[in-house]
């Protein structure tokens, strides 16, 4: 049972890293970006390519995946996304679905539709067990690694948002774009860098998760709903909301699949609908339901 809890936490942490960029984009720019999973997929494929073709070690691939996805995110933000901020939600949804379709089809074209496999280094492959009987806790080393990386990222993100000058600029731009611009904050640069970092984090999550979640060209469509659940349930006003929502989702999903495999994804979807009917603005917002 503890093992399931542990796996659930690892899964949830992974979802959090994948989705936090989306939470910031939605909260920040009020932009519904369904193409977020495409950045995660790009990160995953960068890792696969680097490891298979060039033999780059796994640990070095992770920052490269981050950089690659961040660069792509930055370029797309400047060229395609920026004109979309002021458009209605329907246009944004269509635009990002279009991007997702394009990403899926072009990955299919360049990489083939088969699932990609990542060869983990030996020191991440083992598994350690504690305790005995019903309370046995088996920890895969790779999952432990994921939790450690994601926890470090979470702390760093929270620090940047709450304590640094950039964080306060970002929060100011979120609260009121015009006043922030009037105070001399270059809102465009703030948005651009935030979008790039969010995409980069998605790329990192994709690289980390390639082994756990599976990587094939339909990745953005398959996991889009999970990212959206994290954001919609967690609310977009803080980091902790999406974090708790991601953990909840991860544990519910793993436990559901283990104990009631017949029910499959029902639990997750039904839970989401019930929570959203109960608190439409998200579970962890102070404003609550209107």
């Amino acid at each position: 049972m503890l093992t399931i809890l542990f796996d659930g936490i690892a899964y949830g942490m992974l979802l959090f890293v994948l989705a936090v960029g989306l939470a910031v984009t939605m909260g920040l720019m009020n932009f519904i970006n369904l193409a977020h999973g495409a950045f995660a997929m790009v990160g995953g494929y960068i890792t696969v390519l680097l490891m298979q073709r060039l033999g780059v070690p796994f640990l070095l691939c992770l920052p490269l995946a981050f950089l690659g996805a961040a660069l792509l995110g930055g370029v797309l933000e400047r060229t395609l996304y920026r004109p979309m901020y002021a458009k209605p939600h329907l246009d944004q949804v269509l635009f990002s679905i279009g991007l997702t379709f394009m990403a899926v089809a072009s990955m299919d074209y360049f990489m083939g539709s088969t699932q990609q496999i990542i060869q983990l280094p030996d020191w991440l492959r083992g598994r350690t067990e504690f305790g005995s009987g019903a309370w046995v806790l088996g920890m895969g080393h790779y999952r432990l690694f994921i939790i450690a990386v994601c926890a470090a990222l979470t702390v760093a993100l929270q620090y940047v948002l709450a304590r640094t000058r950039f964080g306060s600029r970002l929060r100011a731009s979120v609260d009121d774009q015009r006043v922030a611009a009037g105070l001399g904050i270059n809102v465009n640069v703030v948005f651009l860098s935030t979008f790039a970092v969010g995409s980069g984090l998605a790329g990192l999550g994709g690289a980390l998760g390639a082994e756990v979640l599976g990587l094939d060209p339909t990745f953005p469509l398959k996991f889009m709903i999970y990212f959206l659940i994290v954001v919609a349930v967690g609310g977009t006003s803080s980091i902790t909301g999406p974090l708790l929502a991601a953990l909840l989702l991860g544990i519910a999903d793993v436990a559901g699949k283990y104990y009631m495999p017949k029910l499959g994804a029902f639990i997750v979807y039904s839970l989401m609908i019930v929570i959203l009917i109960w608190r439409p603005q998200g579970l962890f917002v102070r404003k609550g339901g209107k």
Binding site: M26, I32, L80, P83, M84, K87, H89, L90, D91, V93, L94, F95, I97, G98, L99, T100, F101, M102, A103, V104, A105, S106, D108, Y109, L221, I225, L228, I229, V231, A232, K262, L263, G264, A265, F266, Y269, S270, M272, I273, L276, I277, P280, Q281, G289, K290
Partner: protein, 323 residues
């Protein structure tokens, strides 16, 4: 009310001279292009589906990414009815509509609160739950293999569904026409006017005494019923129902159809369906595997440039804001 205002109000709901021509052309098409009757049938079904989405998206402003839920419900209900109860198409159609209307009435409770994002999530979630249900209940629905062995009886006891698809095309066109006329009546009625008021400003609509919640529930239910009719038509004319009817692709495609043709205009669904189906047919015959790329590209360009400007190339080089 003065005479002039009355005239201008009635003007929008009056039958335009080109409308009967369009419908006559539509009904002549299976005869003129008899080898393409199957695709005409598909276009009619997609158009009907798009009209049902237009009722909630274009006229009421509810963004939905899970409209395939009702489409699929209608399809499975009609197919199961034909397989287990009786093969008569019209009774099956009525049954499919009834089931999806019921589902719509239940689901309408979920779209009342929250922002666009919440609604998007809830509708998407509903679609996915139904997809999972259809997948798991394989003793009833056939699971991933689809529901096979659906044999339809002849239409009105006389017209057999044949391989060339002419009966199917006429059947879909007739049902489409009936629902189109009903939808047209609906949106031009005072009820339709209140829907548009809700879309434009919900708070103000509430303030002038429009019962917003019951209107939303009602239009969502009606729209679900129409989508169910489209699904039932698909299942009956193809004699097959598979998980594909609940797929996310379907919800996204119908939204694209509507946006191509024009939101908040009933003919938008029809125009969009013709354009989209022909485009899909051409693209998938050129590149069978990668046609979604071109659909995606089309969507991105459409939104970035704007539909109005894309359709009117002579405005491309004019300065924005001028004239």
């Amino acid at each position: 009310m003065t005479n002039a205002t009355q005239k201008s109000l009635l003007h929008t709901s009056r039958l335009k001279p080109w409308e009967p021509v369009l419908w006559l052309l539509a009904f002549a098409s299976p005869l003129l292009l008899s080898s393409h009757a199957l695709i005409i049938n598909e276009i009619a079904i997609v158009a009907l589906f798009a009209i049902s989405l237009d009722l909630i998206l274009g006229y009421t402003g509810i963004v939905s990414l899970g409209h395939a839920a009702f489409f699929g419900m209608g399809a499975y209900a009609a197919a199961l009815f034909a397989k287990h109860v009786m093969p008569d198409p019209l009774v099956g159609l009525a049954f499919g509509i009834a089931v999806s209307t019921l589902l719509g009435a239940i689901c309408s409770l979920t779209i009342m609160r929250g922002s666009d994002l919440t609604r998007l999530m809830v509708t998407l979630g509903m679609g996915l739950i139904l997809l999972e249900l259809a997948n798991r209940l394989d003793w009833l629905t056939g699971g991933a293999d689809g529901l096979q062995g659906v044999v339809m009886g002849p239409l009105l006891g006389r017209f057999e569904f044949d391989m060339s698809g002419r009966t199917a095309a006429y059947y879909s066109l007739c049902v489409g026409l009936v629902f189109f006329v009903l939808a047209r009546r609906l949106v031009h009625s005072p009820f339709g006017a209140t829907l548009m008021a809700i879309r434009d400003n919900r708070l103000r609509a509430m303030a002038i005494g429009i019962p917003v919640h019951s209107r939303l529930a009602l239009v969502y239910t009606v729209s679900a019923g129409v989508a169910g009719a489209a699904g039932a038509l698909l299942a009956q004319t193809t004699g097959f129902a598979s998980l594909d009817v609940f797929d996310f692709h379907r919800s996204a495609d119908v939204m694209l159809v509507l946006v191509v043709g024009g939101v908040g205009w009933l003919y938008g669904g029809i125009v969009g369906a013709v354009v989209f189906k022909l485009m899909q047919d051409t693209l998938s015959s050129i590149t069978p595997q990668y046609w979604t790329f071109w659909i995606g590209l089309f969507l991105v360009v459409l939104v970035l440039v704007g539909r109005e400007r894309l359709l009117r190339p002579w405005t491309w080089f004019r300065k924005r804001g001028g004239a």
